[in-house]
């Protein structure tokens, strides 16, 4: 892959051509002709020119903690809502520091990275040589500008026996549906890490006031009227999201373990199949652009970096002998939705043996990893609801319900290894559910539990419940809790117990809502099944 860039700020001559005779213009014909310019270097040069405005408008982040390291992230953008963040085609050196203390007296690692124009001026630093299970602070510096300070934490040592892992489950942050107040509250929690389970950004139009935010001071440029499909538009959309101060606070507070769902590319896509009426090749290019922007904007390690249309996102993280997190990608490799997608009555296509939500490679990797983990708990951080969820006689074909073969394979392994916890996003509701090998046999023991976390903002203010949720609780005996508010799930995983607190905010279309614990559940590793705490 060779990125082509022109040098920045080529002087622009006057673009008015009033002297041109009209007849000559008409004679130009159907297509304008390209004039060749002097060849330029394929890689943007690193600039020593000063950066006048604060380039750290998009905050800082860390992610994917290991016992000896963590990924640090930032992206330079002095003017975040302009192409290339207002930096043009030059790359810039960025200093970074990791310290044991917030005042940076005891700096333990430091270096210089390059914010490359061809990567949207994103910076990924894979810091190693840190000590396990420790809190660290990090920051960046670029040309006299200091970034905000981020706080992160390494994973426990491989052979450690941690007493507890504290994490939050969050997903679905539509900017236009409301404010990210839930992130502000999450940043004040006491956590080791955050699992973000997808729909980090939404691809549709954002009007000048940010949709339901009705933020008249925002005055977004008209470019945000376009749905994202090219890399420049995805980059701008991430920049908009990352300017949100509440989201920045949540990134700066804890390391994140991110995965995506559909909206990072397009609503309800399946592998190479678009939801809407565009060609398969056009969609593959759109997906490549979306994946590239995702990589640029998340604290992910180099092996995750996409090459064209594919991006290997599924991965494993280990937290001593306490937990193994299997981070899944249920979008990139899935078979097209069965029965025509949507919420449909059962159909034979659902059971076709070659159908897969994970794809054969990832499914084998997951089942093998669950079998071999050897930790107290297997945590599946993933996107769509795994538990069977009947809407009367209908099922949602976009979820694991549309792929019963893969689900059965996972649940069969869970039945042999105690301690399976499935974490889920996507649906904009809070649910708590017991996982059974046969959901139609409510008397049989559960083989694991599923914590389905609501959205940060998607769906707007929400409410306590809906008639559809009440119906689901009645139709699905393994479903223990359903709630339609916004928020996140705060979890603590101990040696023998899992506790989940469903934290909710009563509204998101105005700023400043409070947070409360709507429900709490516990489950025992050796006797899975959620019960009120």
């Amino acid at each position: 892959m060779v990125p082509y860039q022109l040098p920045a700020h080529r002087p622009a001559p006057d673009l008015r051509a009033a002297a041109l005779p009209r007849r000559a213009l008409i004679a130009l014909g159907a297509a304008a002709l390209a004039t060749a310019l002097t060849p330029v270097s394929a890689v943007a040069r690193v600039s020593g020119a000063p950066v006048r405005d604060d380039p750290f408008t998009l905050g800082v982040a860390s992610g994917d903690p290991l016992p000896d390291g963590v990924v640090l992230w930032t992206r330079l953008a002095p003017r975040p809502l302009e192409p290339a963040g207002g930096l043009g085609g030059v790359s810039l050196p960025v200093r970074w520091q990791v310290a044991e203390d917030e005042a940076f007296v005891r700096v333990v690692r430091a270096g210089t990275a390059t914010a490359r124009a061809e990567y949207g001026h994103a910076v990924h630093v894979d810091v190693r040589g840190l000590r396990p299970g420790r809190v660290y602070y990090y920051r960046f510096r670029c040309d006299g500008h200091l970034s905000a300070v981020g706080r992160t934490r390494t994973a426990p040592a491989e052979n450690a026996s941690p007493r507890q892992l504290r994490f939050a489950v969050a997903s679905c942050q539509s900017y236009t549906d409301g404010f990210f107040t839930a992130w502000r509250h999450l940043a004040a929690e006491d956590l080791d890490l955050v699992f973000f389970l997808g729909d980090y950004m939404y691809e549709g139009a954002v009007d000048s006031a940010g949709g339901s935010r009705l933020d008249s001071g925002l005055r977004l440029p008209d470019i945000f009227q376009l749905a994202t499909d090219t890399l420049d538009l995805y980059r701008l959309r991430y920049a908009l999201y990352r300017t949100d101060p509440d989201l920045q606070a949540a990134h700066a507070a804890f390391p994140w373990v991110p995965t995506w769902d559909d909206h990072e590319v397009q609503d309800n896509y399946a592998a190479g199949v678009p939801r809407f009426d565009i060609s398969a090749q056009d969609f593959l290019v759109q997906r490549a652009n979306a994946y590239r922007a995702y990589w640029e904007n998340q604290p992910l390690r180099r092996p995750r970096q996409p090459a064209g249309a594919g991006m290997p996102l599924h991965r494993r993280l280990r937290f001593g002998d306490l937990a193994t997190a299997h981070v899944l990608d249920t979008r990139q490799y899935r078979s097209d939705q069965a029965c025509g997608d949507g919420v449909k009555p059962d159909c034979p296509e659902r059971y076709e043996p070659q159908r897969s939500l994970l794809g054969p490679e990832q499914r084998g990797w997951l089942l093998d990893g669950m079998n071999r983990a050897g930790t107290r708990w297997n945590v599946l951080a993933q996107q769509v609801i795994m538990t069977e969820l009947r809407y009367g006689i209908r099922l949602d074909m976009d979820k694991w319900d549309g792929y019963p073969g893969d689900r059965q394979a996972v649940l069969d392994v869970a039945a042999r290894h105690p301690g399976t916890v499935v974490l889920t996003g996507d649906i904009h509701f809070n649910y708590a559910a017991d996982l059974r090998v046969d959901f139609r046999s409510p008397g049989t023991p559960a083989v694991g539990v599923e914590l389905i976390g609501t959205s940060i903002s998607s769906g707007g203010d929400g409410g306590e419940t809906t008639p559809a949720l009440q119906r689901q609780l009645a139709d699905n005996p393994h479903l223990l809790f359903a709630n339609a508010q916004r928020g996140y799930v705060r979890c603590s995983l101990n040696r023998d117990t899992l506790r989940a607190d469903y934290r909710v905010v009563p509204y998101v279309t105005r700023r400043g809502s409070s947070v409360m614990t709507r429900a709490s559940y516990v489950s025992y590793r050796d006797r899975p099944g959620l019960e009120p705490a």
């Binding site: 990125p3 622009a12 004039t35 990924h124 009227q225 090219t230 890399l231 290019v285």
Partner: protein, 263 residues
């Protein structure tokens, strides 16, 4: 490549691997927010390897061209076509202005001839500004003023829809640079096999004109199931007309308007 100094030096291959072109090669538009054109900017990978390609877009200051960059992955042999909207605000001096696309070592210039709209009894042609309470990607306010009133084509970007399902009212607002005498407003909602009017059409709305004391309702439509409704009223002199929508015929509860005509 995350460490300082690790700058890869790649050789520039001979000749352009990525080709840049723009169609049409010259355009003429009239002034007004909704009277612009879309230029198709094409980036073609003529090489054998996939590339990430960039183009920069510039326009004379008087032109409104929100898009200033295109970056995309290009597999070998693939052409990405990106429609780029260009318009000239009401009041722009007549003349020929340039749009310039640069990328992959090439430069393409497209002359844009700008003139005021010809006087027409259809006042929508001379609207200087259109606004809406909200909108969706591909269903922008200008879609309702594009001269295409085919109710089956609404979904193809030729109409407007709000983005707040089940929340009412919504509005679509037209403004002129100078006062106009208006006495008729025609609203065309949707109708097609996919979006039949009885399920998806607009049901209740008010036609309003701006007066010294604020918005005045000059016509009200209730319980509508027709595709096109013309509201006649006593002539008013105003600079603004607004369609204030209150309800649709059910499904999703969006405001769907294919076209508005004012005379």
């Amino acid at each position: 490549m995350w460490r300082a100094g690790a700058v890869a030096l790649l050789l520039v291959p001979p000749g352009p691997v990525v080709r840049v072109s723009v169609e049409p090669g010259a355009v003429a538009i009239t002034t007004g927010q909704c009277n612009g054109v879309e230029l198709d900017v094409r980036l073609t990978n003529a090489g054998a390897e996939p590339v990430y390609a960039d183009a920069r877009l510039a326009a004379a200051d008087v032109l409104h061209m929100p898009r200033r960059a295109i970056s995309t992955w290009l597999p070998p042999g693939y052409t990405r076509t990106v429609p780029v909207a260009v318009s000239a605000p009401t009041g722009t001096a007549p003349g020929v202005y340039l749009v310039r696309v640069t990328g992959a070592g090439q430069r393409v210039e497209v002359p844009v001839t700008v003139s005021p709209p010809s006087p027409s009894p259809d006042l929508t042609r001379s609207v200087s500004r259109v606004n809406a309470s909200s909108y969706r990607a591909g269903l922008l306010p200008c879609g309702a003023l594009d001269g295409d009133a085919d109710p089956a084509r609404w979904w193809k970007g030729t109409g407007w829809a709000d983005s707040t399902g089940k929340e009412w009212p919504d509005w679509l607002q037209l403004r002129w640079a100078a006062p106009q005498t208006v006495s008729r407003v025609t609203v065309t909602t949707v109708d097609s096999a996919e979006f039949p009017v009885a399920q998806f059409g607009l049901r209740d709305w008010d036609v309003q004109v701006a007066g010294p004391g604020g918005w005045q309702t000059v016509a009200a439509v209730r319980g509508n199931t027709a595709v096109t409704v013309t509201s006649d009223f006593a002539p008013r002199v105003t600079t603004e007309v607004r369609i204030l929508t209150h309800a649709a015929n059910g499904t999703n509860d969006w405001s769907r308007i294919t076209e508005v005509a004012v005379s």
